[in-house]
């Protein structure tokens, strides 16, 4: 599996760049940088954290059940597998 030391560059629209490790979910990374983000269940079934993925790839830790469009991701249950560009709705 992925090396836990591996880090990816995440570009968040209107916020700026952050660095993400692959041993945390994307939501945990975003929170660790004190960026305001919606969430409820943190398990992929409520969809509160739906985020636009503009560029890059993620892999899911659990099968996301909430409705997401083709260009959306659920940060609560995914980890980045490449550099990302995302737009967090606010």
């Amino acid at each position: 599996m992925s090396n836990s030391d591996e880090r990816f560059h995440i570009d968040i629209v209107d916020v700026g760049p952050v660095s993400a490790s692959t041993d945390k979910t994307l939501l945990e990374t975003i929170e660790a940088h004190n960026i305001d983000v919606h969430f409820h269940c943190r398990e992929g079934f409520c969809g509160a954290c739906r985020t636009k993925l503009l560029c890059g790839k993620v892999s899911y830790t659990t099968d996301p059940l909430a409705y997401i469009d083709d260009d959306e991701i659920l940060p609560c249950c995914c980890i980045p597998t490449s550099a990302l560009k995302i737009d967090i709705p606010r």
Partner: protein, 376 residues
């Protein structure tokens, strides 16, 4: 078209639409047209809980200590929750099952409704603990004007769809006169009624429930009525899943991934769908007015609750492709997330590692080392 409980014709459920195709015959789940419903069933079943597992005995002491305005907030909120689950415990079954054409969706609706009945049972569990005779509370639900107004709006779209479906099943398409009223029944009209009904259910699961959750958790934030809050936390987790299912149905239609006619209707009735949401928002704000008529409570007042309604409405409307009409940027009740986070829902320790907790599990992994000390 007449409903049959076991359709004798062979149908390929993989090519049926979600609604208004052939009635379902074999309840098979090895293949699904929309696999999401199978996944939702599994998730929902894994959430199974019983109200009696939660000890609410301390709540009785807490309740006596509440001020009169707080008692009014708590009890009115509980009445409203009882109403919502009374409707949801039966209506999806009666309205949707007769017109569903996919086995996985049929079972999802049954599972969904069944969990709403657990919720209804838990309100009795809570009230029985607070009052030696909870009859007054239950009786008031059908006479209280504030609650009745909500009830009629919630049940209206269901009743409309159910009646039209009954006419269609017994008399077929055409113009029918019942009790002096004329009803035009055709596929398109039925599908429109279904679309509006699904939007009304979605608004109920998306907004109405959350307003009531906010009131419950506001008490828990003050370490009051914690047994009740534990139960509502379990209910909130289930409702989250139900909301996901109605969002999926609406989006599957809108994206043309099911019945192409439903995609047209979704476009055609977009304004009406939006209006259903806006109406729910307005009603919930009125409800906040009623809740806080005698006074607020620490941590929650009318203004904050109204802001929360708008905040949650923005999110829920965006989730089904509508605009976000309200100007609320951040969550006015940030502590709500602690209660809606499924990690914080207490489960039996053996169940917290779900994958490893299987009834009658057999360890099927055998390594070569297992025979290391074995001699012939």
């Amino acid at each position: 078209m007449k409903y049959t409980t076991f359709n004798q014709q062979s149908v390929n459920s993989l090519s049926e639409p979600m609604f208004f195709g052939n009635p379902v015959n074999v309840a098979r789940y090895d293949q699904q047209k929309h696999s999401i419903f199978e996944k939702l069933i599994e998730k929902q079943i894994s959430f199974f809980w019983r109200p009696e597992e939660v000890d609410v005995s301390r709540d009785r002491v807490d309740f006596q200590k509440l001020t009169d305005p707080e008692k009014h907030i708590f009890i009115s909120n509980l009445k409203y929750q009882t109403l919502l689950d009374s409707v949801q415990g039966r209506s999806p079954n009666i309205a949707f099952l007769p017109i569903i054409s996919l086995p996985e969706l049929e079972t999802w609706v049954e599972t969904w409704s069944f969990f709403e009945t657990i919720h209804s049972r838990s309100y009795t569990h809570i009230l029985r603990n607070l009052f030696s005779d909870p009859s007054d509370i239950f009786d008031d639900i059908v006479v209280n004007d504030e609650i009745k107004r909500r009830a009629s709006d919630i049940s209206r779209y269901y009743d409309d769809l159910i009646f039209a479906t009954q006419l269609w099943q017994t008399q077929g398409e055409g113009t029918h006169t019942v009790d002096g009223e004329t009803h035009v029944i055709n596929q398109r009209e039925l599908k429109k009624k279904l679309y509006l009904c699904m939007n009304s259910v979605n608004a109920l699961e998306a907004i109405r429930f959350y307003v009531s959750f906010a009131c419950t958790f506001a008490f828990a934030e003050r370490k009051l009525m914690e047994g009740n809050s534990k139960i509502i936390r379990l209910i909130a987790r289930d409702e989250n899943l139900h909301l996901t299912s109605t969002q999926h149905i609406l989006n599957i239609w809108a994206k043309g991934k099911d019945d192409p006619e439903m995609a047209e209707i979704a476009e055609e009735c977009k304004d009406q769908a939006r209006e259903i949401f806006m109406c729910a928002v307005a009603q919930e704000k009125e409800w906040a007015d009623y809740l806080f008529k005698d006074g607020s409570m620490i941590g929650l007042n009318k203004q904050i609750l109204c802001e929360y309604v708008e905040y949650i409405a923005n999110q829920r409307m965006a989730a089904i492709g509508l605009d976000t009409p309200f100007d609320v940027k951040s969550n006015p009740l940030p502590w709500m997330n602690n209660y809606l986070n499924s990690d914080n829902v207490q489960v039996a320790p053996q169940e917290s590692e779900i994958s490893s907790y299987l009834v009658g599990q057999i360890d099927s992994s055998v390594s070569e080392d297992d025979f290391a000390d074995f001699e012939l």
